[in-house]
Symmetry: C2
Subunit: 343 residues, 2 copies
DNA sequence: CTGAAAGCGCTTACAG
DNA sequence: CTGAAAGCGCTTACAG
C-alpha cells in the first residue's frame, strides 16, 4: 500500500505550487484562477485520491472542525441514541464531526475528559444529562462555547435546551379534559426536579384554563416506577370520589396505573383513562391498550442544541436564546376514552 | 481572556527550550533530566494551565488519538447507548477519543462521512450496525484498521464482534428443559439473518443435547413483533398437543406469547413458560410476570470491538480474533415455571 | 493568475 | 543533561 498523498504530490502532478492547490481545492473566495490550471489540479487531486490532512489544516486555521458531546450517563436511557443522533446530524450538516464522551457522572473522569477534548481543540461542547436536571457547568469549560442539553444550570450565560415540560403536561391534561374528564388525578415523582416541577405546573395551569377545580387530594407522589404508580393510583382509585382519569409523571408510573386499575377490576380506558409522559420506547406502544403519552423530543433537542452551539462557535457574540423549550408532542394511542357517566 | 499558552510560553517561564519542555511533559522514556529543571517545567506548565495542542502533536507524531464509530442507525434501538458507551469507555481507557457518525443507512452520506473521518486522521474505525446483520465493508475504509460491531461481513480479514446467538438460545432452551419442559416451541422471525439462524441453531442443538425430539411443527415463523408473536404462539397453542413452553426470537414476540396465552385463558408461567431474547429495556422488566430473557451484551460488544481495534491500531499485524462471540446472559425473571403435568 | 515564504504548535533526532 | 534545527501538512498574506 502506498502512502497517502500530500498536497505537495498533487502540486507536482499538476505542475503548480502547493499554495495554488490549496487555493483551488478550498475554493478560496475572491481568488481568480485559470480554468485550465483549476481543472488540472482537480484532476490531479482526484487521480491521487487526495484528502487534505485535517490536523494540519486545523493547526493552521485554528479550526478543528469538531464538536464534543459530554454527558453523564449515555447508556442509562433508551433515548440516548435519539439525543446523540440529533446532535450528530446537526453537526454534520455544518461540516463538523462529533466526539463523544460519557463520564458516568464521575467528576474526576469528567475533568480529564474535558482536558482531552480541549487538547483536541474541539470548537465547542454540548453538555448533556440523560434526564432533565440542574447541573453546574464545570469551570474547565470556561472560554469554550457550551450549550446545555436536557439540563439547566443556575448560570444565565450558558444556553440550555430542554423539553417544554409544562406545555407537554398541558396537552396531556387537555386531551383528558377534551374527553369530558373533570376529575383528573396526577401521580408524580417524589423528588422535585425540573421535570416534576414543570409537569405539575402544567397540570395546574391546564386545570385552571379549563375551569376545573384544583383538588390537592388528586395529586399524589410516589416513586417514579411502575410500583410507585400502582400504589399512588391505587390511593386515588380508593378515594370516595375517585378520578376518572390519571395523568402520570412518566410511562412507568402509567404502567402502574394500569395495574392499579386491573387490581380493582377496572378497565383502561373504559373506566379509567391514562396519559403518560416520555413515550418510552416499545413499552408505551406495547401496553394494552397502547399508552397515550407525551413524547420527549430527544432528537429535536439534540439538533437544536447543536445548532445553537454552532452559532456560538461561528460567532461567540451571537444572540442564541438562553433557554430553548422544545415541544413535547402528544402520541395518541388507546388509553384515553370519554369520561364514564357518574354512577 | 488571555490566549491559551503554548509550549514556548512554558519554556520561557521555566527558562528552558521548548524541546526540553516537550521531553519532560511527555516523560520521554530513557531521557535523563535534572530533577530541578523537571520540577521547574512542571510548575510552569501547571501555573500556565498548559495543555498541549493535540492537532499539532497529532500532525507531528502522525497519531491523532481518535477512533471513530460509524453506524447505520444509532437511534433506532434503545441499546445504542450501551453499544456506544462500551466502545467509548474502552477507547478512553487507552487514551483515545471517539468520534461518532450515524449514516442513517445512506451510502452517499456514509462515503462522505468516512472521508471526513479519514481527513481527521482517525486511527481506526468501528463499523457498527444496530442489529446483528451482514454488511459489506466500504472500500473507502481500505488501509484503515476496521472492526465490525454487531455485524459480520463475507470478508475474513476484518474482525467482527457479535453476540453469541447460538449459545444464548441454548441457555434459553436449557432453562426451560431444566424446568421439566419436553415440548418447547420456538417462534421466530420470518427473515433469515445471523440472529434468526443462530438462535434456531441453538434451539436445535440444545434440544438434541437434552435428548428431546425435534418436531418441526413446533417452530413457527411470523413477523418479529408482538402481533407476530401472538399469532405464531397462537397456532402453537391450538395444536392438538401444544408445547408447555415457548422460546421467542425476541422480547416483542414474547409479548405476543403472553397475549396468545391470555386470549386462551392460559396463565404465564403456570400454564405456559416463556423465554424471550434481547432483554429489551424496561419492556422485559415491566411485563407481568417479568419476562425471563436472554440479554444482548451491547456494552460488552462495544468494549470488545474497541479493544480489538486498538490492538490493530497499535500493531496492524496483531493477531486479533477474526470473530468474537460475546456471551448473552440469561436474565431470570418470572416467566418460567415447572412444566405442568400432562392432563 | 501563480509562487515563495512564513508559520500554526508540536516532537524528534542530533549536537554539544 | 539541554538546546537548535528540521519538519509534520497545511493556509495565508505577500510578491511579482
Amino acid at each position: 500500500m502506498t502512502a497517502r498523498p500530500r498536497i505537495k504530490d498533487v502540486a507536482e502532478l499538476a505542475g503548480v505550487a502547493p499554495s495554488t492547490v490549496s487555493v483551488i481545492l478550498n475554493d478560496v473566495p475572491g481568488a481568480r484562477v485559470n480554468t485550465a490550471t483549476r481543472e488540472r489540479v482537480q484532476a490531479a487531486a482526484r487521480e491521487l485520491g487526495y484528502l487534505p490532512n485535517g490536523l494540519a489544516r486545523g493547526l493552521r486555521t485554528r479550526r478543528s472542525g469538531t464538536l464534543a458531546l459530554v454527558s453523564d450517563v449515555i447508556a442509562s436511557t433508551p433515548y440516548a441514541g435519539q439525543l446523540i443522533q440529533g446532535a450528530q446530524e446537526a453537526a454534520w450538516e455544518a461540516g463538523y464531526l462529533l466526539m463523544l464522551v460519557d463520564t458516568g457522572g464521575d467528576e474526576v473522569l469528567e475533568r480529564s475528559a474535558i482536558r482531552a477534548l480541549r487538547q483536541q481543540q474541539v470548537a465547542g461542547v454540548l453538555y448533556a444529562t440523560m434526564f432533565h436536571r440542574l447541573v453546574e457547568v464545570p469551570d474547565l469549560l470556561a472560554g469554550l462555547p457550551v450549550v446545555l442539553l436536557d439540563a439547566r444550570s443556575s448560570r444565565e450565560d450558558v444556553p440550555a435546551v430542554v423539553p417544554d415540560e409544562e406545555a407537554g403536561a398541558r396537552t396531556a391534561v387537555g386531551t383528558l379534559a377534551d374527553h369530558g374528564h373533570r376529575r383528573i388525578g396526577f401521580v408524580l415523582d417524589r423528588n422535585d426536579g425540573p421535570a416534576a416541577a414543570g409537569r405539575l405546573a402544567g397540570y395546574r395551569a391546564e386545570l385552571a384554563a379549563r375551569g376545573l377545580a384544583w383538588d390537592e387530594t388528586l395529586v399524589v407522589r410516589a416513586a417514579s416506577t411502575s410500583d410507585g404508580g400502582q400504589e399512588a393510583v391505587g390511593t386515588l382509585l380508593d378515594m370516595p370520589e375517585p378520578p376518572t382519569a390519571v395523568f402520570a409523571f412518566n410511562d412507568e408510573m402509567a404502567v402502574g396505573a394500569y395495574h392499579a386499575a386491573e387490581d380493582r377490576g377496572l378497565r383502561v380506558p373504559e373506566d379509567l383513562s391514562v396519559v403518560g409522559f416520555d413515550d418510552l420506547y416499545v413499552l408505551a406502544r406495547e401496553m394494552r391498550p397502547g399508552l397515550t403519552t407525551v413524547a420527549l423530543p430527544h432528537r429535536a433537542m439534540g439538533a437544536a442544541a447543536a445548532r445553537s452551539l454552532l452559532q456560538l462557535v461561528t460567532d461567540p457574540t451571537a444572540a442564541v436564546p438562553s433557554l430553548q423549550l422544545i415541544a413535547c408532542p402528544l402520541v395518541r394511542r388507546g388509553s384515553v376514552a370519554a369520561a364514564p357517566h357518574r354512577r
